[in-house]
């Protein structure tokens, strides 16, 4: 249907090839940016991201991979829910995040957010589930945010919400294998 709509190796072309999403459909109405709850925190609101992808301009693509927007996005799916062209913007954001990470281009402002996600996944990799204490310890180590939420821990323990000993599943080796085959593949050093 649109065999040569995009350059083969542009981000737009890859998004079209891998996820069958066509950024050409976007007519820049701005409804996504208008409904995005964290618009004011972003350097490029969603409709800008779409426009930058449409240009297939390598300079702008670099800017996107280095952008803060893609990590500030809270994946609430509001943009997709309101888009008149029904473009799967959350999928595009996921794609850009993965590319940004693989190419080591994460925006400095987003480092804390990425560290949190990595801490989260580390816990999953090692126990099969998420151990809150583990994550928080891991996150604090990665982010040096030692004093944050310090007052919260005792309150959580008092309410029985914090496991002091992590829960482990039996088939942890399977989970580790999944990580190895996907996010920890040799080509995607994390």
């Amino acid at each position: 249907m649109s065999g040569h709509l995009y350059k083969e190796n542009s981000l737009a072309g890859l998004i079209h090839h891998e996820h069958k999403i066509s950024v050409a459909k976007c007519y820049q109405c701005g409804k996504c940016s208008a409904g995005c709850p964290v618009n004011t925190e972003m350097d490029f609101p969603p409709s800008m991201v779409l426009r930058m992808l449409q240009t297939e301009d390598p300079e702008l693509e670099e800017k996107l991979l280095h952008a803060f927007s893609i990590w500030m996005c809270v994946t609430c799916e509001m943009c997709y829910g309101r888009c008149p062209m029904e473009i799967d913007i959350p999928k595009i954001m996921d794609f850009l995040r993965q590319k940004s990470l693989e190419q080591g281009k994460v925006n400095p402002k987003a480092k804390r957010i990425v560290k949190f996600h990595k801490a989260f996944l580390d816990s999953v990799k090692h126990t099969g589930r998420v151990s809150e204490l583990g994550i928080i310890a891991d996150y604090k180590m990665r982010s040096f945010a030692f004093t944050q939420d310090v007052m919260l821990a005792p309150k959580m323990i008092r309410r029985g919400k914090l496991h002091l000993i992590p829960e482990m599943i039996k088939d942890r080796s399977m989970v580790k294998k999944l990580f190895k085959k996907t996010i920890n593949k040799k080509e995607n050093p994390l």
Binding site: P37, V38, E41, W71, M72, V74, T75, C76, E77, M78, Y80, G81, E86, D88, P90, D94, F95, R97, Q98, L101, R112, I113, V114, K115, F116, H117, K118, F120, L121, S123, V124, G128, R129, V130, E132, Y139, S143, Q148, D149, L152, K155, M156, R159, G160, K161, L162, H163, E167, I169, K170, M174, V175, K177, L178, F179, K181, T182, I183, N188, L190
Partner: protein, 293 residues
Amino acid sequence: MRIGLYPGCSLTGSSREYKESVVVVAKALGIILEEVPDWNCCGATAAHNLNHELALALPTRILALAEQAGFDKLVIPCAACYSRLTITQDELNNNPELKAKIIAHLGMDFKGTMVIQNAIQFIQDDILPILPAKITKPFDYKVACYYGCLLVRPHGILKFDRPEDPQTMDAVISAIGGTPIEWAFKNECCGAAMSIARTDVVGKLSGNIVKDAVDRGAEAIIVACPMCHSNLDMRRPNINKAMGEKFEQPVIYITQAIGLAIGLSPKELGLQRHFVAVNLPEKKVVETIMEEK
């Protein structure tokens, strides 16, 4: 009908009262829930933000285990897990090549036929029909039903309720004697996974939600998602700071509200685990003619 339960990590940790209320309400109503054996984390926001295939593989293992266990349907009270598993199943069922690849990673059989239900669908199917006779303390409060993002979006895949001004939770509240209010932030985001990394953003977004509900007379906010609960409840100090106002209204899980209505004690339902104290005023007790046991 064999009903599987996938609690997810939040329900066994920081939101354990949600699982407690689900289990105790089901028990009181004679519904048997079986937990998926040796379930793993679905990957939540972190997985799909960082790696597409991992984000598919983790939920697929859970679904494969559920299929293996022979459940007729899988109930997932956590909205985020419900979202991940439903979207994963839909994506793989529409992409045979990708499905085969993930199955190869897993080394497990996966058909993609499991019926997945969120907390409210489970309530509609299994609880509402038998509820009227069991209500002893009508939940006679004015409340704001907060759906959050992932219960109703993306509508094309979830096909649940309506994405704007949803009504299903409101109907449940009405069924237990409550008054759901009309308000404007039913489906606006609370700040989601930014709870730790950008607590300021959560304070603002969740603050807007609480403020609108309270301004319109809500005595409590009802939720069906542990992330939403955590942001509206545990992060209340951040909300108060961001809004410059102190809000006392508690945040209650829909299953806890049902539990109160059928006469279960607050302790059984885990209400004491909340950060914002649940001090709802006592209401009249309705005398129902109970069948002789």
